[in-house]
Symmetry: C2
């Protein structure tokens, strides 16, 4: 795309998530020509996306234009475009408008979408949470359910409108369920005249035996009892059998519910298909210990795009710090190669993931943290969670703005971003637009 001196090594990074951004950042000063491609113009701070879905934060507080992040990096060209394929022979990435973007080194950091275990027909009824649009849609559905309940005369239908089901007991599911419970129990009660929003049922369904399965048992238990105190019904060991406009079927039960949110499974983007390379069951590329694709040392895959084994043999978790570590590793590997460095006569050492800890918020003043060497729960964990997340946001303005919003939620139970906007094809047939 851009005119550059022909001798510069060209690194193409596909995906402006945590992994891709970190690769580009650490490549600073490497004397390479970087092209960063994303199908959206913004990077999202995924760990707080559930707060947009639950009307706590505005979209622009957790999203930044990618080209704005790199405005001072003249070595980076940002392209808003959708990748549709890769020519490994021709060393080119193809965009949906037919453009070919040539690379010398390719970094695939394309992330995941939610997956329905072969039941894609559930998606319209149980949207997942990966993009700003997903978050706005879920926010719309949650808020509209209360609005419709306020106008509904039929008690059964009203009960269904006031039933919110979250499927999947991982961090996103726990955080969503806890925040919806707070919305129903502390933010909204005073505002409706015909319904009592505190009678809402918030049901978290997890197929496995406990919530936050990646955490130690006692933190899982704490999370479950905290959710229950907030008014969330936690259903364990019952896989969901069907989702429809009527509600959710799990075990032998059918639960009528107007709002269903999917936080249960993900599938990697089609990067493996672009390459014709081997992938695991979730579609993640098989990579060598140096995060390159077998037989293609010029192609790296990082973050959720790659199936990476951790030092304990378990897969590296699909969380932001893991993606950032892999991104930084790849950037250093590229630099080392270009500088012709060897390491005691060997190639660049293998990627080793260092787990720094797991944090999840459950509700106001309630969080769990597992740093390995210390486990925390309750208000101290909540403060650490809050400070850590504000720290990792981009820019002082966003930090001040998010802090201001959290202060307001914490002090006044007011959520600022309670807007029902845009159209929803499913919802359009059921009530006011």
């Amino acid at each position: 795309m851009s005119e550059t001196a022909p001798h510069l090594h060209r690194v193409v990074i596909v995906g402006g998530g945590f992994g891709g951004l970190e690769t580009a950042k650490i490549l600073k000063g490497a004397n390479v020509d970087i092209c960063l491609i994303d199908q959206r113009n913004h990077h999202i701070f995924q760990p707080l996306l559930y707060q947009v879905a639950t009307a706590s934060l505005a979209t622009s507080e957790i999203a930044w234009p990618i080209r704005s992040i790199f405005r001072d990096r003249r070595d980076i060209t940002t392209i808003l475009g959708r990748v549709v394929g890769v020519s490994v022979q021709g060393k080119s990435v193809f965009l949906d408008d037919g453009t070919a973007v040539p690379y010398d080194t390719l970094v695939l950091a394309t992330g995941v979408r939610h997956a329905y275990f072969g039941h894609d027909e559930w998606e319209p009824f149980a949207p997942g949470l990966k993009t700003i649009e997903d978050a706005t849609l879920i926010r719309r559905r949650i808020l509209l359910a209360f609005e419709r309940a306020e106008r509904e005369q039929d008690p059964a239908r009203r009960a269904a409108l006031l039933t919110f089901v979250v499927i999947g007991g991982g961090p996103t599911g726990v955080e969503l369920a806890g925040t919806i419970a707070e919305l129903a129990n502390t933010t909204l009660p005073q505002e409706f005249r015909n319904i009592d929003t505190t009678t809402s049922r918030i049901v978290l369904i997890e197929a496995g035996p406990r919530v936050l399965a990646s955490y130690p048992d006692d933190l899982s238990d704490y999370a479950r009892t905290s959710l229950e105190k907030l008014g969330v019904e936690v259903v364990l060991g019952r896989p969901v059998k069907a989702c429809s406009a009527d509600g959710v079927v799990y075990g032998d039960e059918t639960l009528p519910a107007a709002t269903i949110i999917w936080a249960a499974g993900v599938r990697a983007s089609p990067a493996a298909e672009w390459l014709g390379a081997a992938a695991d069951r979730a579609g993640r590329l098989q990579v060598l210990p140096d995060l390159t694709v077998p037989d293609h040392p010029e192609i790296f895959a990082i973050g959720d795009t790659a199936a990476i084994a951790g030092p304990d043999g378990k897969p590296v978790p699909g969380i932001a710090p893991a993606a950032k570590q892999a991104g930084a590793y790849v950037a250093r590997a590229i630099k080392a190669r270009l500088e012709g460095k060897t390491f005691a006569g060997k190639a660049f050492p293998a990627f080793i993931y260092r787990h720094q800890g797991s944090l999840a918020q459950i509700g106001k003043s309630k969080a769990v943290i597992d740093f390995g060497w210390i486990k925390l729960r309750g208000w101290l964990a909540w403060w650490i969670w809050g400070i850590a997340h504000i720290y990792f946001l981009i820019g002082l303005r966003t930090r001040l703005s998010v802090a201001l919003n959290w202060l307001w939620i914490h002090t006044f139970n007011q959520r600022s971003a309670r807007l029902i906007t845009q159209r929803d094809e499913l919802g359009a047939s059921k009530g006011p637009k």
Copy 2:
């Protein structure tokens, strides 16, 4: 809808804009049962909507859930619903789901939409700015035009992508054109690698002889020259003859432009059709001096819904303070009636609009103010404009948040809400989603 004591006088207000909100506010303590109906769940601070369209503010900074504004007013029931008709005999308002909402007094405050002077076919190419969705769509188109220009190889097509046309030289048109110029000239230049965003053409087309026609001549001139200094081409006395995907035709010229924004004309909501009552050319209800509809003393029309003559014989302008004054007047009239008050043996005195002044921002440190007794321009006017607008926002959190954003824009030329989100049917065929 709600169960209320049957003897309470029932006031139904349709529309949660400035007029409807003010009516509800001033009716506090009137011992009436108020029902406030709006087709959206939020009130919008219209005067700053252009700042959402130009990525300066987030949607939630200028919009508040209506039921949240009245959370402490137990006498107000808020309904999210679309009014489709009124039975003046049956004294009921009909919603699109078939619900009938009975009233004793009806206040119509349903506002306007943009109008295309009989050329509705222009709307897809030249969207207007009245709702949050309009603002998000315009923001999307502006930002996407720069993105596409960055990838465009053909110089003519690239030039069209970098041409932004605003039709209509009223306050909204002036504010939009000025802010787009700042976006192109100060916020974006560093961020693109293949285009120079300062070469963008921002063209403001006004059919009349000057911009800000409702202001004194010298302030109009100042506004025009200020716009020109910002890089806006101001075209006067040339009505637009056509808008299409290719651009705009005005006078004898055809201007290829990918982005066109309509700020030229409005048409009142169909309130007059609901009543079968007389309306003016713009669809505004003819009202008596007490703002009631002829032969229907129980029906008031306020704000942009009504054609109201000011003390100077000129029509009352379609601005927030006028709508608020009418709303307060109607609330007091309803109270007086219910208390059986007379005024020296006569009915409630006629509504008199008091023009407090006009304010318009042109760009950074540039604004015009006409208070009648004093006219201001330049940085002092800009500060007064900014402080006045922050003052009229709802809630301390929003005020702090908007002030923070403006501080950032002013100091760093950074605009925080530069997100391309949602789909755009027109745009979808032309590039990345």
